[in-house]
């Protein structure tokens, strides 16, 4: 056997963003270790700087159209990967900025916090590029490992501790399912790489294997019935970590799901469409209805996130190019609205030390800016035009209509009504109820920045979404023949 790895400089260029970020975060960690009395804010800004540099690098790649594969197709850098990497990094920047005040209350391990956040981001960047099941497993575990620690970061806080333990146990459990599924698929197909699987005939073992993998990824994105960890973990984790957890891993896991089902399993689309229809209906309905009963804003956003993922799954149920466009765009709208809402929660929470919805009473009197921002974010989540969330939902539903998924459409529309109710309950408390303590709430500049970015994103994506739509359409260009592939594969699809 010969040593068959050939890596040229231009190949390594494809890995440049990851390599840069790895080096950068090690440098940040080293600086944090070596310079005593360095204000943690400087570490935070250093981290933000590095992440933004990586982000710019990726944008530049996207502009140039750099694409390619590495390591025998295990690592792929295409526009889809670039989109999700930018998605992850954008959320990372916003999360780091909204963490700064929170981290101030730590007595030590401040620099390490940013290190772990960036490490998780790095893991998710790898996830976006993973093109075979082994890489999926390893990168998924990589990103989740950082989160295990981050969720339990408040070592002495019972809730955080409990959240960390639950997340860890269930996460490892999901990893077990994933490993089981991967081994089944490998046994059936003899390959781990997605693009090579596309040509294998269907078999039940393959189906079970992929179901197990879907269960593990469903755990990551919090789709019903794999959602059970979400409320407790979101509730107990430090709020900025919850914010991070609520958006970035969902994006990265969606990248894998899209790749897996669009590339490896395109031929079996008639089978998996129903899977997503069911998962989507369950997630939307369950998430929205349980959200009504919530008294804690973090739990509310957790359940609302479950429902939102239900909406995203509609796009997968459509299983077309337009479906994947819609997913990407929807996630983008969700990123701004969700992180914006969390920034408000963090800003308020830092000051009043509470996340109960009751304590948002009269927020409008205490800080009109925060209340107005929260209003816009919640309305965007509810899908009120002309905000971003509306366009996202529109796209998702149009994708469903293309495939004549009318049941899904009807359920989705009913869920929009239900969701309006609990978002409005929060709005009502902010705007109409009397505050117990009328003292004004002021938020720091970093959090304000995050809120402004969220507002800008929510408004621009709603009012002038065109460039972003063009971007996501370009990102999924490789799937434009996905429907044809299904048609071509149908005759031999019965060979199971």
């Amino acid at each position: 056997m010969t040593f068959d790895l050939v890596l040229s400089g231009s190949d390594l260029l494809l890995l440049a963003p990851e390599i840069f970020l790895t080096v950068w975060l090690c440098v940040v960690l080293a600086i944090d270790f070596s310079i005593k009395n360095l204000d943690h804010e400087n570490i935070a800004y250093l981290s933000v700087g590095g992440v933004i540099a990586t982000l710019l690098n990726l944008l530049w790649f996207d502009y140039l159209g750099v694409t390619g594969t590495l390591f025998h197709d295990m690592f792929v850098l295409d526009r889809l990967a670039i989109f999700f990497k930018i998605f992850v990094l954008l959320s990372t920047v916003l999360v780091i900025l909204s963490s700064i005040d929170y981290v101030k209350s730590f007595r030590f391990f401040r620099g390490e916090y940013y290190f772990l956040v960036m490490m998780s981001a790095l893991g998710m960047m790898f996830m976006a590029s993973a093109h075979d099941l082994l890489s999926v497993f390893v990168t998924l575990e990589f990103s989740t490992f950082g989160f295990y620690v981050l969720v339990a970061y408040l070592r002495d806080d019972v809730k955080s501790n409990e959240a960390g333990l639950k997340f860890f146990i269930l996460g490892v459990f999901a990893a077990g399912l994933l490993a089981y599924g991967v081994s089944l698929v490998y046994g059936e197909t003899g390959t781990l790489v997605f693009s090579e699987m596309a040509h294998t005939p269907g078999s039940y073992g393959l189906a079970i294997g992929f179901l197990m993998i879907f269960a593990a990824l469903g755990f990551k994105i919090g789709a019903v019935p794999f959602h059970s960890w979400i409320p407790d973990t979101y509730h107990g984790a430090p709020t900025p970590v919850t914010a991070f957890l609520s958006i970035a891993p969902k994006g990265a896991a969606m990248a894998i799901l899209i790749r897996m089902f669009y590339v490896a399993l395109a031929a079996f689309k008639p089978t998996w469409v129903l899977l997503f229809v069911v998962a989507s209906i369950l997630s939307m309905t369950y998430g929205n209805i349980v959200a009504i009963a919530q008294k804690n804003i973090k739990r509310l956003l957790a359940y609302s996130g479950i429902a939102q993922i239900g909406n995203v799954l509609i796009g997968l149920a459509a299983g077309t190019k337009r479906g994947s466009d819609a997913i990407l765009f929807y996630l983008l709208t969700y990123l701004f609205a969700n992180l914006g809402a969390f920034a408000v929660v963090i800003g308020v929470g830092n000051l009043i030390k509470s996340d109960e919805i009751e304590d948002y009473n009269g927020l409008n009197r205490r800080s009109p800016f925060l209340a107005a921002a929260m209003l816009i974010f919640l309305l965007s989540l509810a899908g009120v035009p002309p905000l971003a969330g509306f366009i996202g939902k529109l796209y998702i539903f149009v994708a469903a209509i293309d495939q004549e998924l009318y049941t899904l459409l009807a359920v989705g529309l009913i869920n929009i009504i239900i969701s309006m109710y609990y978002y409005l309950v929060v709005v009502k408390k902010m705007y109409i109820n009397e505050p117990v303590d009328p003292s004004p709430i002021r938020v720091s500049i970093p959090i304000k920045t995050v809120i402004y970015v969220g507002l800008a994103g929510t408004l621009i994506l709603g009012i002038y979404p065109r460039p972003f739509i063009e971007w996501v359409v370009a990102a999924t260009l490789m799937f434009s023949n996905v429907t044809d592939m299904v048609a071509a594969a149908l005759p031999h699809g019965s060979g199971g």
Binding site: F168, I169, Y204, P270, I292, A293, F390, I414, N433
Partner: protein, 660 residues
């Protein structure tokens, strides 16, 4: 130039929203108020110019601001369609809007959040203008949601009223039900036409099958029912009266609630394709017209009576749509905007004079104290009751005549009874408010004063419009309005029924008799023999209380929709923590009894694994004993059950004969 004018119509209020919203706290409230009014005024001038242009050319024109959404087949412009229908709506919205804005300067004077109020009002204007100007369904929908949002914000304007908050939420959620129907219609239209532009869709509707046309028309109508407060979604409108009175006048009488009528008329080509949907529209309209009128008979809150009357009048408009009298619907929309805005603003003036009192049992004899308001209110009452030659007579008569002539006798009967009741409850309101002995609280009585000119001038203007507005549609079926709108709204069956002048005059005479008898009964009960009203109520107590409680519809909805939803949410939440836990525990205990002999070999597949992991956590010496670790394995159980269901599902699916 024309394009610029068109863009400026929503542009001016939008600029005012941005300026007042961002900088409003930097300068005085008066300035903010005048800025808002000025913006609407400029918008009105632009609308006049645009209207003049249409009047000359009578050609529909499209103006595109920019391409809003692109992607695959879905391309949507933020564009405007300017034709005569839009022209009429533009003038109503900006004209009445301007008068109400000016009125608000006086009415809201001294209220907390004055600037905020005008920001919302301007935002409402922008949304409403988008609604009537849009050249495609999606722009219509943004406007549609935008007005709903502003309505929400303005109903909940008074922080300190819990009832206001509830009413606001109710309005939004109920509207949202309608919106879901509307969205579904939009998706169906897109699925059928691959476009959302009126100019692409409406000329093509004849391609649709009757079933599809009916489905789309009904879905659109669900939206209209929500927005225009028809049965069964009307309950939010009376509650919406918690908002400030100018809001009630602008949003909940003159403009927003008529959006449903506008939408149906805009899509009349579609409704012409779907006779079943038309019938439903007519019946819902007719029933609502009568139903709401009966509730209006016994209410005591001056604004609520007007609210039920609005619901009832909107019913007339839908009735008109249902019988194919689209122009009459728009005609009534216009006259209704005049006289209902007038009635609300006059009522506002009364409330203003009485320092916030809205209960007509605590009014009376106000005619001499606030004479101008009295006169304008009286004009409004005469107009809505259908006393010729005021505006309401012409438009309502046309609707009823059209229904009769086209053989919809049932609907005609509903409308005629409704007209009788309308005349009655409006004059009841007038008598109780302005005539008879004063029942005003003595503490309030000596403060009673006529409103300032900034409020009364819009009243006079609206009163004038209510008097002469009807002549836009005279003679019936051949007035100016009909000629102008005819290019856009071609009646379904043109001139197939030629009606003799005698029948028309007879119908008119009957309508006048109906209106006058309503007045007469009210006069008898509230002016001649004031105690008779109570006698009547006492004679049929059950009917009276049912009406007073609005047929218990709110309670019914609470019981069958709202509460179950909440309970379901709570119970699922509770279920997560308790039931799964208990069930699993219970089963476990049951098993313990049975397997006491073999304690050491039991198949704890999953939980043993968790056990080990838990030991590993000891290593890090986590304080895990404090945790509710019992739940974790149940969560894992849920995940396993999920995976199990998936496999099971696959099995059933495959055994069922479908291929992998």
């Amino acid at each position: 130039m024309f394009d610029l004018l068109v863009l400026l119509i929503p542009g001016f209020p939008l600029v005012a929203v941005v300026i007042n919203g961002l900088l409003g706290h930097r300068y005085s409230r008066e300035l903010a108020g005048w800025l808002a009014c000025g913006a609407v005024g400029l918008s009105f001038l632009c609308a006049l110019a645009v209207f003049g242009d249409i009047l000359g050319s009578k050609i529909a024109r499209e103006v595109v601001a920019y391409t809003w959404i692109v992607g695959g087949a879905l391309t949507v412009n933020l564009g405007f369609l300017i034709d005569s229908l839009t022209g009429v709506m533009l003038l109503v919205v900006t004209g009445v809007g301007l008068l109400i804005h000016v009125y608000s300067l006086g009415y809201m004077h001294g209220e907390e959040g004055f600037t905020r109020f005008f920001v919302y009002m301007n935002l409402f204007m922008v949304s409403m203008l988008l609604l009537v100007m849009g050249n495609n369904y999606l722009v219509l929908f943004i406007g549609w949601e935008g007005v709903g949002l502003c309505s929400y914000l303005l109903i909940g304007y008074y922080f300190d009223r819990i009832s206001a908050a509830k009413a606001a939420t109710k309005a939004f959620v109920v509207n949202r039900i309608g919106d879901a129907g509307f969205l579904l219609a939009i998706f169906l239209i897109f699925a059928n036409f691959q476009s959302l532009d009126y100019t692409q869709v409406l000329p093509q509707v004849h391609r649709l099958s009757t079933e599809m046309a009916t489905a789309i028309a009904l879905c659109l109508f669900i939206g209209a029912v929500g927005k225009s407060a028809q049965i069964p979604l009307y309950t939010w409108l009376p509650d919406a009266m918690e908002g400030p009175t100018p809001v009630s006048a602008l949003i909940h009488a003159a403009t927003m609630v008529t959006a449903g009528v506008y939408m149906v008329v805009r899509n009349h080509a579609l409704y012409d394709m779907a006779p079943a949907a038309m019938t439903l529209v007519g019946v819902i309209g007719g029933v609502t017209a009568l139903f709401a009128a009966t509730i209006g008979l016994v209410q005591y809150d001056i604004k609520r009576v007007l609210a039920y009357s609005t619901v009832s009048q909107l019913g007339y408009m839908f009735l008109a749509c249902g019988v194919g009298a689209y122009i009459a619907a728009i005609f009534h929309l216009v006259t209704h905007a005049f006289f209902k805005a007038l009635l609300f603003l006059s009522a506002g003036s009364v409330i203003h004079a009485l320092g916030g009192e809205q209960d007509i049992r605590k009014m009376g004899g106000l005619a001499s104290k606030i004479p101008l308001t009295h006169k304008t209110f009286l004009v409004g009452t005469l107009a809505i009751a259908g006393i010729p030659p005021l505006a309401g007579f012409w438009s309502k008569d046309e609707i009823m005549a059209h229904a009769f002539v086209h053989g919809h006798y049932g609907l005609y009967a509903l409308a005629a009874i409704g007209a009788l009741l309308t005349a009655f409850y409006m004059f009841r309101l007038t008598y109780l408010t302005f005539y008879g002995t004063s029942r005003i609280d003595p503490h309030v009585a000596h403060h009673v004063h006529e409103s300032p000119p900034v409020m009364t001038r819009p009243l006079v203007a609206l009163a004038a419009l209510s008097i002469v507005g009807g002549f836009l549609g005279v003679p019936p079926e051949h007035g100016w309005m009909h000629g102008f709108l005819g290019s856009v709204v071609t009646p379904a069956e043109t001139s197939s029924h030629t009606v003799s002048a005698g029948v028309m005059v007879g119908l008119m005479a009957f309508a006048v008799i109906v209106a006058l008898s309503g007045w007469g009964i009210a006069h008898y009960l509230y002016a001649v023999k004031p105690q008779a009203a109570d006698d009547w109520a006492a004679r049929a107590p059950r009917v009276y209380t049912t009406l007073l409680n609005k047929y218990y519809v709110d309670e019914l909805y609470d019981a069958i929709v709202v509460e179950p939803c909440k309970r379901l949410g709570r119970s699922w939440d509770w279920f997560d923590f308790h039931v799964i836990d208990r069930v699993v525990r219970g089963v476990g205990r049951f098993a313990d009894v049975g397997s006491a002999t073999s304690t050491w070999i039991e198949k704890h597949v999953i939980y043993g694994v968790l056990n080990l992991i838990a030991y590993a956590n000891h290593l890090a010496s986590w304080s895990w004993r404090k945790l509710q670790s019992g739940l974790v394995n149940h969560y894992a159980a849920v995940i396993v059950a999920g995976a199990f269901l998936l496999v099971h599902f696959l099995l059933v699916w495959l055994v069922g004969g479908t291929r992998v």
